[in-house]
């Protein structure tokens, strides 16, 4: 059974007022009609990025890890 809050389509989160004001400034003249819709957009982007990213290593980092794994014998 979902909790009562989860049944509602929206819920409230708190952010510091100065941050709220900054976001308000930023979305002026954009397609975002409210701070909430902007914040939801940004959060979705971040979450999607995390979920899709199969390998969070840059090419250089990947080589560094591979080199270490080679030295440890986990890679031929």
């Amino acid at each position: 059974m979902p909790k009562k809050d989860e049944k509602k389509k929206f819920t409230t989160v708190s952010i510091p007022s100065p941050l709220f004001k900054k976001v308000e400034e930023r979305i002026k003249g954009t397609g975002f009609t409210s701070v909430s819709s902007y914040v939801a957009y940004v959060l979705r982007e971040i979450i999607a990025e995390e979920e899709e990213e199969e390998e969070p290593f840059s090419e250089e980092d990947k080589e560094r890890v591979k080199e270490r794994l080679r030295a440890l014998g986990y890679i031929d």
Partner: protein, 462 residues
Amino acid sequence: MGKRVLVIGLDCAPPELLFDLFADELPNIKRMLDNGVYARMESSHPPITIPAWMVMATSKNAGKLGVYGFRHRKPGTYNKMWLANSHSIREKTVWDILGEHNKKVVVVGVPPAYPPKPVNGSQISCFMTPGADKDYTYPQRLKKEIERLIGEYLLDIVFRTDEKDKLLQQLYDMTKQHFTVLKYLAKTKPWHFFMFVEIGVDRVHHAFWKFFDKKHHLYEPDNKYEDVILNYYRLVDREIGKLLELTDDNTSVILVSDHGAKSMKGAFCINQWLAENGYLTFKKIPPQGSSLAEADIDWAKTQVWGWGGYHARIFFNVKGREPQGVIEPENYESFREQVISDLKVIQGPNSEKWNTKVYTPEEIYPDGIGDYPDLTVYFDDLNWRSAGTLGYDSYYLSENDKGPDDAVHSQKGVFIYYDPKRDAGGERIKDLSLLDFAPTVLKVIGVPTPKDMEGKIIKEVT
């Protein structure tokens, strides 16, 4: 009120050393054994650091996690790979679940932990971090605290070297530094659950096993490194003692390892064997020590290739699945049966019988996802490691192909549970599974166990 739990993770610690051979030399671990309950713990398939720690943390088998080792073959390629990382773990860990129940956690070095994911508390990444210059902590600012305390954090050492004295110094430096960090975190951070994995234990086994194990084929009596492994365990035990002094009576302690260790008998060159048995074809004979990627392979005439490691991963070149596939999909199963029976009868260098285990994905990963191999092979029950390199005079190498390594992995790790408030009499209980760890931790702390966890609550501890 539920208890707090401190988890001491010793990568690769085998029951034979901790429960028997070394127990009397390790007063703190001995106290836990004598007053707690303990058992051997069946590791994952394969019994390797990755996926084993995450099988433990999630109570899901490697197939469910879709994580089968440090590296994975990119589908539809012969030699491209992706590396396991924290994002590869999609299932909830025990600390994720505890965090959802507002329990504070500290998690250090439980692989794969890079990049560090948010937790309800603090996290330090593992040896799979590209370097100490990267962000290896959550929250990010914790890195500054760590660096103020100890300078550059030592993620790992490179153990495959003949400079043993230097290696030993690095090992001690790393482990002492890790415990300095652990004691700092235990004192300064709030926690209900505190878990760390010390990778140094695995490294000391691989680097020094032949000097200590009289049954190792390269053992020499009265060598200067004879007691290195025991002395290292003494260090770890002393440090565990100091850490335990920082915990209260309401803290239960669990000591675990992800797999065991045993003497390496040698390395078996899987690709060379495949080539000589007609499964793999070269365009040009590869020079000695070539990796598969370096060798000139005639993929259109190759049916099977393998990867090295403590176990072998075997891949089939299937039409429609691999770029130059040759095995007809409808023949896949009969072909697989043939390869399995060929692998199972491989004998040792002196025609001795081997107990080679060959697993299909259906057997060990019934709900497997992601990039598992076509076969998982333990040569002579892991006594022989698998070498992926090529071009030798024999399939059998008495030493590892990629620098000195004396130990291989074994299927049983350790589990010790110690509650300072309850004398459990040092009972040795029947073998457990890595999968039993997470549900038991949740039970001890007093958080409901999710139904989809595969392990059971260990009743002797609760």
